[in-house]
């Protein structure tokens, strides 16, 4: 029994804490392009200092925050009505609707993003449709813009918004809405005063589940965003693979992690509080 409990901890130590320690050690070292791996271990904060002195990193960080935040908001605005509709659907239809939400997971994430490239590219399906229908004469390519990045993030992470929202909305006691109506609340007022506040735990969970991975997202801005989009995940990739500056890339990774701890801690606290309330 004791070993069974130790196992997940062992897993975390081997596959999370140890690599993290390695990354931290590299970040404190200096770049040594002539040796392999290109790191000279040491104890210097100059990589971190560089991050704060060069505007590129701050700009990439702020741009990531902005893109993640707007994508999260769009996902919330799309996901809430979806989750609400599923929760209000006839019980025997809900499993099917939920399966449709998670159905995209059956195909590889990478392949789905490649598919979007085909849809969004110049002379891609969307472009052709716009031309054919006469909605736009020369729409140009959406691919390579921030629009495409938003689209990709919302598309990829929407299920993470819908599922926690569904879980809270499905538990909502419908007699509470009847009570609100009985006491004189119009449907919209009942929604704003009862449904919305009671689904707040689901809103927070869904938003964090979309927001946190979106900030560090690399594949979507790289494939759909092109060169114009600045995101911290892409900067990290460039530092590591293009510039082969392992210590600086590691410092970026550490900063990203530390800055993500804040929303994760918020999420944890909120979960704990909602657990407390239930008991």
């Amino acid at each position: 029994m004791r070993y069974a409990i130790a196992l997940p901890f062992l897993w975390l130590v081997v596959f999370f804490l140890l690599p993290f320690a390695l990354v931290l050690a590299i970040a404190l070292g200096t770049n040594a392009p002539d040796v392999a791996p290109p790191v000279e271990l040491g104890f210097s904060f100059k990589n971190f200092a560089l991050l704060f002195s060069d505007d590129l990193y701050l700009a990439a960080w702020l741009s990531s925050l902005r893109i993640a935040a707007t994508s999260t908001l769009i996902a919330l605005l799309l996901g809430y009505p979806m989750a609400y509709a599923i929760a209000r659907a006839r019980p025997e239809r809900r499993p099917l609707l939920l399966m449709l939400v998670v159905l995209p997971f059956w195909t590889s994430f990478l392949i789905r993003i490649y598919a979007w490239m085909g849809l969004l590219a110049k002379n891609g399906l969307i472009d052709q449709f716009l031309r054919w229908s006469g909605l736009a004469d020369n729409p140009g390519s959406i691919l390579g813009t921030e629009w495409a990045v938003h689209l990709g993030i919302v598309y990829a992470y929407l299920p993470f918004m819908v599922l926690p929202l569904y879980a809270t909305l499905e538990k909502l006691d419908s007699s509470l809405l009847e009570a609100a109506a009985d006491l004189g609340a119009r449907p919209l007022t009942a929604f704003l005063t009862v449904t919305l506040p009671l689904s707040l735990p689901g809103i927070v969970a869904g938003c964090l589940l979309v927001f946190i991975p979106s900030i560090g997202e690399f594949v979507i801005p790289d494939l759909l965003g092109g060169t114009g989009t600045l995101m911290i995940g892409k900067v990290l990739w460039d530092e590591f693979f293009t510039n082969a500056d392992w210590p600086l890339a590691s410092a970026v990774a550490i900063c990203l992690l530390v800055l993500l701890v804040a929303p994760i801690a918020l999420f944890q606290r909120q979960q704990a509080r909602s657990l407390e309330r239930r008991t």
């Binding site: 006691d173 007699s175 509470l176 009570a179 609100a180 109506a181 009985d182 006491l183 004189g184 009671l198």
Partner: protein
């Protein structure tokens, strides 16, 4: 039609029907509820009483017929515009609001000003004796306290009609007894009209001024508790309310209450007598119930009041006894 005082009715229900798929939950109900009375809808589960109540509140849309509340036809009127309030069986308190916010919810929807809301909430909480619990969350209250918050929340809007869906069902037995009197006291004090749904015949008998007994979507009898107990209209009502011996008499049926029958060792001097043997005895403290196999009238139930504390049951199992009842003890059933 009999000439009497003009009845001031607050609710008129005409030919009300509600179907769920193939099931007719409420089947052409006509009913008149008077202003200021505590009216009970009584019946077993699935008899349509809750559906009827939910149609009064506006949560269910009738398939036929109509409801008129205080002269206003309720057809097409949504719940939030009806002059009624409901106390839910589950209480349906808002878990994210404290007691005061729960009670004040309906007043805020009316646009009542904050100072008046505070005053009326305080008054309502005073009425249900929860004045010092205003800042608690529903989760921090006992079942009885929650019930009283639900009551205060529904009362504070001074509705023309207060609907109560099994108001005592979620309480334990001891609390139920006290709350019964408390509800009647509040109803009389405030002069409101209460419509209560219950499956508990004792509850409806002791609380209601009048009640409607329902079965399979229809109202089978309406009357005061006394009328319904003493003059049940049908075998169903006689059987459902209290205990009744249903006897065949002159080609019809007679309902005979257990306490109207005299139990004696020798043949009693009454208009009707029958001999029998005691099958079993149920001692209930204040009374004892005897099941007796009679000669020719099947198994009958007789009750005796246990007036003398020291006197043990005067009859024993398997004892041969006589049952007797006067000519007017029973009530002839019309069906």
């Amino acid at each position: 039609m009999h000439a009497g005082p003009i009845v001031d009715s607050i609710v008129r229900i005409e030919g009300l029907t509600k179907r769920f798929g193939a099931i007719t939950a409420v089947d052409g109900v006509d009913l008149e509820i008077r202003r200021g009375e505590l009216f009970a809808l009584l019946g077993g589960s699935g008899c349509g009483k809750t559906t009827l109540l939910r149609m009064l509140a506006g949560f269910e849309v009738p398939d036929g017929g109509r409801i008129v509340i205080d002269g206003q036809d309720m057809t097409g009127v949504p719940p939030h515009l009806r002059p009624v309030n409901m106390m839910f069986q589950s209480y349906a308190l808002f878990p994210h609001m404290d007691v005061a916010a729960n009670v004040g919810y309906g007043l805020r929807r009316e646009g009542v000003r904050a100072p008046e809301i505070a005053a009326r909430v305080a008054e309502a909480l005073e009425q249900v004796k929860l004045a010092d619990h205003a800042a608690r969350r529903p989760a921090q209250l006992s079942g009885g306290q929650r019930q009283r918050v639900a009551l205060a929340r529904a009362l504070v809007k001074r509705p023309k009609l207060l609907l109560l869906d099994e108001p005592l069902a979620a309480l334990d037995r001891k609390l139920r007894e006290g709350t019964r009197f408390e509800l009647v006291r509040l109803q009389e004090q405030l002069g409101l009209t209460f419509v209560m749904v219950t499956h508990d015949q004792q509850e409806s008998m002791s609380m209601a001024t009048r009640l409607a007994v329902m079965n399979t979507g229809r109202v089978v009898q309406v009357g005061t508790p006394h009328e319904i107990y003493e003059r049940p209209a049908s075998r169903f009502v006689a059987d459902f309310i209290g205990i009744a011996n249903i006897l065949e008499a002159d080609g019809g049926w007679l309902a005979l209450r257990p306490e109207r029958i005299t139990l004696a060792a020798g043949r009693p001097d009454t208009a009707n007598t029958v001999a029998g043997k005691i099958l079993d005895i149920a001692y209930e403290g204040d009374r004892s119930l005897y099941r007796i196999v009679t000669e020719g009238k099947g198994t009958m139930v007789v009750s005796t009041a246990n007036v003398d504390r020291m006197q043990p049951a005067s009859f024993a199992r398997d004892q041969d006894v006589w049952l007797g009842w006067s000519a007017d003890a029973g009530h002839r059933l019309s069906e």
